[in-house]
């Protein structure tokens, strides 16, 4: 049920939108700019019900009253929100490189080091005609996805795109969307609420343990989720799910701005584990290009004894602004955050977490490891908040930073707010460089300087990698080595 050309034309005429759209719907693109008509267009295009459109418009109106946050420790050119096209289907065929020969050799070099098969490289680099090849030859995701879907359906798990969910399960979406990250939560969340084009939807029914790790990896190759992704995961009473987001290979992407929203809901005794490997294009050595990654991720431990665990490995993007958080509402609920963030070149990251303790006996653990090399700038920014009702709340926070090179920066901004006298909160942070004695020891045992650095860095990140699903952990380790290549000496 795609919108017809007439629909859009009527819409344009009704609204008196003089500039008009490029109404060739085959191309699925609106001209750059953001206004209510564009939002109506997106909603109409996706054949959304009225409530969804109203919700988007309300978010847009809220966004209009907000200003771009200035508190993060990051610097970038102001973003022109009117210069962005808010709805564009995958890039037109002509824009794509003809073969791998046309692709940035640096990107290929990285693929090589990560051991990615040639065909898969083509898909990631967006080479012409590679889509079908990828599906059939590389990992046969159609059949994988099919077997996958059967198995999930058997368990009663719903795993689909959010657009599909709005059509198929409107009552669930309507009930939960925006309940963890409200429309007006922050500048980027509001923008996302107004213009989100796709994302994932997961629903785990009561008592079900999801039979496999859910990953966006398969889906992302089939459809372009776009730059404003919205993910909603609901784990009903006593259910368990582990969700993997992202991909270790750097993806060719022309979209400069990514503003995603992820909402997790864990009911009584439910457990959600959310792992991310983010490796968007970081820009070149001089800081030209690269993705601006502004993400709002929040989990709500709604039920008693529920648990939400965030694990992230952040190596990409020119600018990262991301604080996966847990609101510990249920008594005895648990929140965890494990993070490794690497900045090199001219990359900047301001990332961390928020743990809001509301229920009794709630526990949270934060382990954040930052590695900064070359001219990378990195900040850990975290909040541990204990409200008066959170008796016996417990938090342990550890943030360590490793500096490689004398022009990088590592910063820590941990906020602790406690309003309950039975809460026990601990925070510790260290910043240092790789010890000369450690390097000397490794080198005198025959390791090259680079291997020594890799080994020490991997050891530094071990606590976080241990939290990742196995395959992911191996890849993440490899990724880290590639990222830090030539960072020393």
């Amino acid at each position: 049920m795609a919108a017809t050309t007439e629909d859009v034309e009527t819409l344009v005429a009704d609204r008196g939108y003089a500039a008009g759209f490029v109404t060739d719907l085959e191309q699925d693109t609106v001209p750059p700019g953001l206004n209510e008509d564009v939002i109506r267009f997106i909603s109409n295009k996706k054949n959304e019900p009225q409530w969804m459109l109203d919700w988007r418009l309300e978010a847009y109106r809220q966004w209009m009253t907000m200003t771009h946050p200035t508190w993060p420790h990051i610097h970038h050119e102001p973003i022109d929100y009117q210069a962005i096209s808010y709805y564009s289907a995958p890039k037109s065929h002509e824009d794509k490189p003809d073969s791998l020969d046309d692709v940035d050799p640096k990107l290929l070099e990285t693929y090589e080091k990560l051991g990615i098969p040639l065909k898969e490289q083509e898909v990631l680099a967006g080479v012409k005609g590679s889509e079908n090849v990828a599906v059939d030859a590389v990992f046969d995701s159609v059949s994988v996805a099919t077997t996958f879907k059967d198995k999930l359906a058997e368990a009663g798990v719903i795993f689909c795109s959010i657009s599909e969910a709005i059509q198929e399960y409107p009552e669930i979406v309507k009930k939960h969307i925006g309940s963890v990250v409200p429309r007006g939560d922050n500048y980027f969340a509001s923008l996302n609420s107004a213009v989100f084009t796709d994302g994932s939807f997961v629903y785990i029914p009561e008592g079900v343990t999801c039979p496999m790790e859910l990953s966006t990896y398969f889906r992302i190759n089939a459809e372009n989720t776009g730059q404003f992704e919205r993910t909603l995961i609901i784990a009903e009473k006593g259910s368990h799910v582990s969700y993997l987001e992202g991909c270790t290979a750097p993806q060719r992407d022309e979209n400069q701005l990514h503003a995603a929203v992820v909402e997790l809901i864990a009911e009584e005794d439910a457990e959600i584990k959310y792992s991310t490997v983010q490796n968007w294009y970081p820009g070149d050595e001089n800081g030209k290009g690269g993705i601006y990654n502004f993400v709002t991720k929040r989990g709500d431990c709604r039920g008693d004894r529920s648990k939400i665990s965030w694990t992230q490995v952040e190596t990409g993007s020119a600018v990262t602004w991301k604080y996966p958080s847990c609101v510990l509402n249920g008594d005895n609920s648990v929140g965890e955050f494990y993070s490794v963030a690497v900045t090199r070149g001219m990359q900047q990251a301001d990332t961390g977490t928020k743990m809001i303790h509301v229920g009794k006996n709630t526990k949270s653990t934060i382990i954040a490891k930052g590695i900064s090399a070359a001219q990378g700038e990195q900040s850990y920014r975290g909040l541990v908040k204990v409200v008066p009702s959170a008796s016996n709340a417990r938090n342990f926070t550890q943030c360590d930073s490793l500096l490689i090179g004398d022009r990088c920066g590592a910063h820590t901004f941990p906020y602790v707010e406690s309003k309950n006298s039975t809460a026990k909160l601990e925070h510790e942070a260290t910043t240092s460089k790789i010890g000369e004695d450690q390097m000397f020891y490794c080198q005198q045992r025959g390791l090259s300087e680079e291997d020594a650095v890799n080994m020490i860095v991997n050891g530094f990140c071990k606590e976080v990698f241990n939290e990742l699903p196995m395959e992911f952990a191996v890849e993440a380790q490899k990724l880290l080595n590639v990222t830090l290549e030539n960072a020393v000496g």
Binding site: D406, G409, Y415, E417, S418, K419, L425, E428, A429, T430
Partner: protein
């Protein structure tokens, strides 16, 4: 007709007292400049990150006036405020005015100058802001520069070490409602000079008042300053304290702060290790009880190599007390071999109390060792039980344990009369503490 805005009130006050403010044409020009800056920025906005947890609205709401002269206090009254058996030089400022009768600055070693800040401003070289200290941020410091009436001025020549500490006693009599004291101290230590200064703030009376104090320290090469700041403002007093230090090579500043008083207190302790191998120690105890709000912001700028900073702040919070701690350490590019360590601990004794802590590290050099730790917790129930089993009352057990929590920092002062004084002042704030005053 000038609208009655917050900033205009202070401008009117400036116009009212301008002719009587100390200082010649030089300082007058400075005052204008700072007043203009204050008019432009006004009081810090509550949305500003640095003022997230502390609202100055109670100060903004009121219309404070400078006192025209020091309130009358008989010598016995002043003496009662002085720590027992403290042998020290003394500078007494009452309601923003230096009072020679209560002060004691005779017998100083040669090369040492101790005077009132007003006298210094009246001299040829007088400047409100030290030319060495460049970055004085904040509109409240501007307000102080525009309206400052008096304070203590200390200058030590090369190699002069003071034989006794200097006790700078700043008293607010709060004789009239809505009095304000704009006080400024400056301590200048030349090469290898040494001094101990006790900055002591006391509030009397029941009316609301506002003390806005700025302290500047110029620590030249190899000098050493020990500073104790004891803040015992009255229960309706508003205290804003700003400290700015510039440290040359091999200099040391050791700062001991005790924040006990005031309805609302906010202190900013800023030091810049401008040359190699300088060292700073910041130790603080804050104890808001009742409905007190005490906010300590510290900032250490490691600008060059081999700097050392050590910082420990401990909070004891009871009743509806609210404590804020923000410790910022900035290691600038090229400040290699920096060694920095910070700890912030808070003890929440009541469910109504709140603490907001934020240690901050900003590091732009790689060959450094920096760490910080922060904890919030309560008394160990097993320890309380142990003491109770030995016949100590519940309150008594809590007082003893709280006392020992803070005691580690008290013992670092190394000046017995002051140690005893700040300990008994802390015990007096705790329920049941008074009966254990002899612990101190």
């Amino acid at each position: 007709m000038i609208p009655d805005t917050v900033t205009n009130r202070y401008r009117n006050e400036y116009d009212r007292v301008f002719a009587r403010l100390p200082g010649g044409p030089g300082p007058a020009g400075e005052r204008q400049h700072h007043l203009a800056r204050f008019m432009e920025t006004g009081f810090p906005h509550p949305r500003a990150e640095d003022w997230k947890y502390t609202s100055l609205q109670p100060i903004e709401k009121r219309e404070f006036k400078l006192a025209d002269a020091a309130g009358n206090l008989d010598p016995a009254h002043v003496k009662a405020l002085i720590p027992d058996s403290l042998d020290a030089y003394r500078v007494v400022i009452i309601d923003g005015h230096y009072v020679p009768e209560h002060s004691l600055i005779d017998g100083l070693p040669s090369g040492a100058t101790v005077d009132s800040f007003a006298n210094y401003l009246g001299s040829n070289e007088g400047t409100i802001q030290s030319p060495v200290i460049k970055d004085e941020p904040g509109s409240l410091t501007d307000l102080n520069a525009a309206l400052v009436t008096d304070g203590a001025y200390v200058r030590l020549a090369n190699n002069v070490a003071l034989d006794k500490p200097i006790h700078v006693l700043t008293i607010a009599t709060a004789d009239q409602a809505d009095q304000m004291n704009q006080v400024r101290h400056r301590f200048e230590l030349a090469t290898s000079a040494e001094a101990t200064v006790i900055e002591h703030y006391v509030g009397l009376g029941e009316s609301a008042y506002f003390t806005n104090v700025v302290t500047e320290v110029v620590a030249s090469a190899n000098s050493k300053l020990t500073r104790c700041r004891i803040q015992q403002e009255g229960k309706r007093g508003y205290h804003i304290g700003s400290f700015y230090a510039h440290q040359s090579r091999d200099s040391r500043i050791i700062d001991h702060a005790f924040d006990y008083g005031a309805r609302l207190a906010r202190t900013g302790t800023n030091t810049r290790l401008a040359e190699d191998n300088a060292e700073v120690h910041l130790y603080g105890v804050y104890a808001p009880t009742g409905r007190q709000h005490i906010d300590n912001h510290t900032r250490v700028d490691h600008a060059t190599e081999h700097g050392i900073s050590r910082e420990i702040y401990k909070g004891v919070l009871d009743d509806h007390g609210r404590g804020v701690f923000n410790g910022k350490i900035i290691v600038h590019p090229h400040a290699q071999k920096t060694d920095s360590d910070q700890a912030a601990n808070a003890l929440l004794l009541s469910d109504k109390a709140e603490v907001d802590a934020k240690p901050e590290l900003e590091i732009y050099a790689d060959d450094v060792v920096c760490g910080h730790g922060s904890t919030v917790g309560q008394l160990d129930e097993a320890a309380v039980f142990y003491l109770k089993s030995r016949g100590v009352s519940e309150d008594g057990a809590r007082a003893i344990l709280t006392y020992s929590f803070a005691n580690a920092l008290v013992q670092m002062i190394g000046l017995q009369p002051i140690e005893r004084f700040v300990e008994s002042a802390l015990l007096a704030k705790l329920p049941g503490g008074a009966s254990y005053a002899d612990l101190a």
